[in-house]
């Protein structure tokens, strides 16, 4: 800061603390609600956590909320994990390969391949809902982990990120590897992928969040409850029409749905911030 003004500093901290509180507030109340009985919550929300934590979380994890037709949360959490891991790993794998092809080879239709990948940026699921659903249905991939993940793993962003990174890898390393007897695949495995580790990890964090937070896609391709993911499943509990939702259990579900990505983002904050800003470059 250019000059010292104690009053300003105090104001700044106040604003920031207020901001942070504003962000934590909904989560805190959700947590409080998730530790009381349904009756207590509906009478007016207490300000401090209650003693129903184990009971409530135990109920949702093992039984789900039967009245709302949602499966046990344990299963939905598992589905979410499978889906987001498959999406993150799948996107990274196929994008690494395509970036490698585009950067390190010269071949007919290279530019066409590049633009084909680029176009996916402009076609999010949201704009081609019905026909994509029909393709997945036609391939018999409804209600399957493959259907939940494979259609989402094409990635222009990841491809571009790796392409950009590969361009910064010195050519002399490639020369040295060739003299050391490494062909393209060996070079890719022994040199390029290990060098991409940081980018890879940063991207993994972002793509994991992307996969975990998918909503519309699982909604389209799953009708069988045993394939529900937690983020789309929660809607089944909250949106029960005219009735009041079972708030204490819905909030326990919400907490469980947001906990894994929040833990990932906070434990890998540096990688996440780096990745996010790189991806948008």
């Amino acid at each position: 800061m250019v000059e010292r003004r104690p009053v300003m500093t105090v104001v700044q901290h106040l604003v920031l603390i207020l901001g942070a509180a504003l962000f934590v507030f909904p989560i805190y109340l959700a947590f409080v609600a998730s530790t009381h009985t349904g009756v207590e919550v509906s009478r007016g929300l207490p300000l401090f956590p209650g003693d129903q934590l184990v009971t409530n979380y135990g109920t949702v994890l093992s039984d789900g909320i039967a009245s709302a037709g949602a499966p046990p949360l344990g299963l939905m959490l598992f589905n979410s994990t499978v889906m987001s891991l498959a999406i993150a790993i799948g996107k990274i794998a196929i994008s690494l390969l395509s970036a490698f092809a585009i950067v390190y080879f010269r071949f007919p239709f290279r530019i066409l391949a590049f633009w084909t990948i680029f176009i996916t940026l402009m076609l999010p699921v949201e704009v081609r809902i019905l026909p994509t659903y029909e393709v997945v249905a036609g391939l018999g991939m409804l209600n399957s982990y493959a259907g939940l993940s494979i259609p989402l793993i094409a990635s222009a962003t990841a491809t571009f990120l790796f392409r950009q990174f590969f361009m910064t890898v010195p050519d002399e390393l490639t020369d040295a590897a060739r003299i050391d007897g490494a062909g393209p695949l060996k070079f890719f495995r022994d040199i390029l992928v290990p060098l991409s580790r940081t980018n890879l990890a940063a991207l993994f964090v972002i793509l994991f969040l992307y996969g975990w937070n998918q909503y519309l896609w699982p909604l389209l391709v799953t009708t069988d409850e045993s394939y529900y993911t937690i983020v789309m499943g929660i809607q089944r509990m909250a949106n029960v029409g005219e009735q009041q939702p079972v708030w204490n259990l819905v909030m326990a579900t919400a907490i469980l749905a947001l906990l894994p990505p929040v833990v990932v983002i906070l434990s890998m904050q540096r990688l996440f911030v780096r990745g996010l800003i790189e991806v948008e470059k």
Binding site: L173, D175, A176, R178, I179, D180, A182, P194
Partner: protein, 361 residues
């Protein structure tokens, strides 16, 4: 160990840009040949063609008598040291040196022995577990050399290996490379733009300009008998002085600015035609008087005292370019003095209009 033969080699880049029109060179077994020239002269291209990193448009390259034009770099039994070392940043020193051996399927125990041996030679034994970023510039340079020698290849290729080091380290590593190459007696091709490196390291030099071999010869050859004006100007520091001259009508001498006449019969074939006269600064000596016709008078303008030597910058009558003389440090001279100078016999070079050497006087 093997000789290298470069036979009428040509390189054309798409464009088309002809980088090397036609170049031939034989390098004897165990010889260290330096490719030297200004940047963009094609020396790196030539080296990379020998390495197999660049396709050969025409001609043939043989290593140990075997045609290698269509062989992959790894199949040519060569090793290369790069300008930026090109060490694999994620591998330890040991792994950097072992990588090429592993790719060749050398047994583990043998790799261990070879790497240990190379590390011992280069003083890297204590650093084998380190990553490149934990090493100093000189150490990285040694690892790059280690990676080259560990395979005991037939040929070493050096692509400006010292240009990333500071001056002190550079001269130190220069000596080490020379010593190592003598010890291993491996045929070597060494690219540099630094003439000091070229002179001190090379058994022979190939001086390149615009993709053409200007001269091939020992360091003494190219210094004392430059074949072209380009070579004369490129080798030596400070640079050779060039004076415009005209061969006398009777062919018995060359007229120079300021009325100086260089008596020689070597330019007889060019009677009446312009020539360029070259004299190295270190070959100009103080003369007794300024009256002889083979003595030039320098109007001194600037004196640079180096200690052992003194560089005197000045001008001749009738000639605009600065002339430099390297004189003994004991000489007392001040800016503005008129200094009579004469050239040592046998050190004056004559170049014709095509810039080829006519003779040395």
């Amino acid at each position: 160990m093997a000789p290298i033969a470069i036979d009428g080699v040509r390189k054309v880049y798409p464009g088309p840009v002809e980088a090397i029109p036609n170049l031939s060179l034989e390098i004897a077994d165990g010889e260290l040949c330096v490719l030297v020239g200004p940047s963009g002269c094609g020396k790196s291209t030539l080296l990379r063609m020998v390495a197999g990193l660049e396709e050969i448009t025409g001609g043939e390259i043989r290593i140990g008598g075997r045609r290698v034009n269509d062989l992959e770099p790894a199949e040519r039994d060569i090793a290369m040291v790069f300008q930026n070392y090109a060490l694999y940043p994620h591998m330890t020193v040991y792994d950097n040196m072992a990588y090429g051996l592993r790719n060749r399927g050398v047994p583990k125990a043998e790799i261990r022995a070879l790497v240990d041996e190379a590390a011992g030679i280069l003083g890297l034994s204590a650093l084998l577990a380190r990553k490149p970023r934990q090493l100093s510039g000189g150490q990285r340079q040694r690892v790059a050399m280690g990676r080259a020698i560990v395979r005991k290849p037939q040929v070493f290729l050096f692509d400006e290996p010292l240009s990333n080091l500071d001056a002190k380290l550079r001269s130190q590593m220069r000596v080490e490379i020379k010593r190592l190459q003598r010890r291993l007696a491996t045929t070597s091709l060494y690219v540099t733009h630094d003439q000091v490196e070229a002179m001190t390291l090379g058994d022979r030099l190939l001086i390149m300009n615009h993709g053409i071999a200007e001269q091939v010869g020992t360091p003494m050859d190219v210094y004392h008998r430059p074949a072209t004006r380009f070579v004369a100007g490129f080798i030596g520091s400070p640079m050779m002085n060039f004076l415009p001259g005209r061969v006398a009508g009777d062919g018995r001498g060359v007229h120079l600015p300021g009325g100086w006449l260089l008596a020689t019969a070597k330019a007889r074939g060019h009677a009446g035609r312009p020539v360029t006269v070259g004299i190295r600064p270190e070959h100009l000596q103080p003369a007794a008087t300024g009256t002889d016709s083979d003595t030039i008078t320098l109007r001194t303008e600037l004196i640079e005292v180096l200690g052992a030597d003194t560089l005197v910058h000045g001008r001749l009558d009738g000639h605009d370019d600065t002339v430099i003389a390297r004189l003994p440090g004991s000489l007392q001279v001040a800016a503005g003095d008129n200094l009579p100078l004469a050239a040592e016999p046998g050190t004056v070079h004559l170049f014709d209009e095509t810039e080829r050497a006519i003779g040395h006087v």
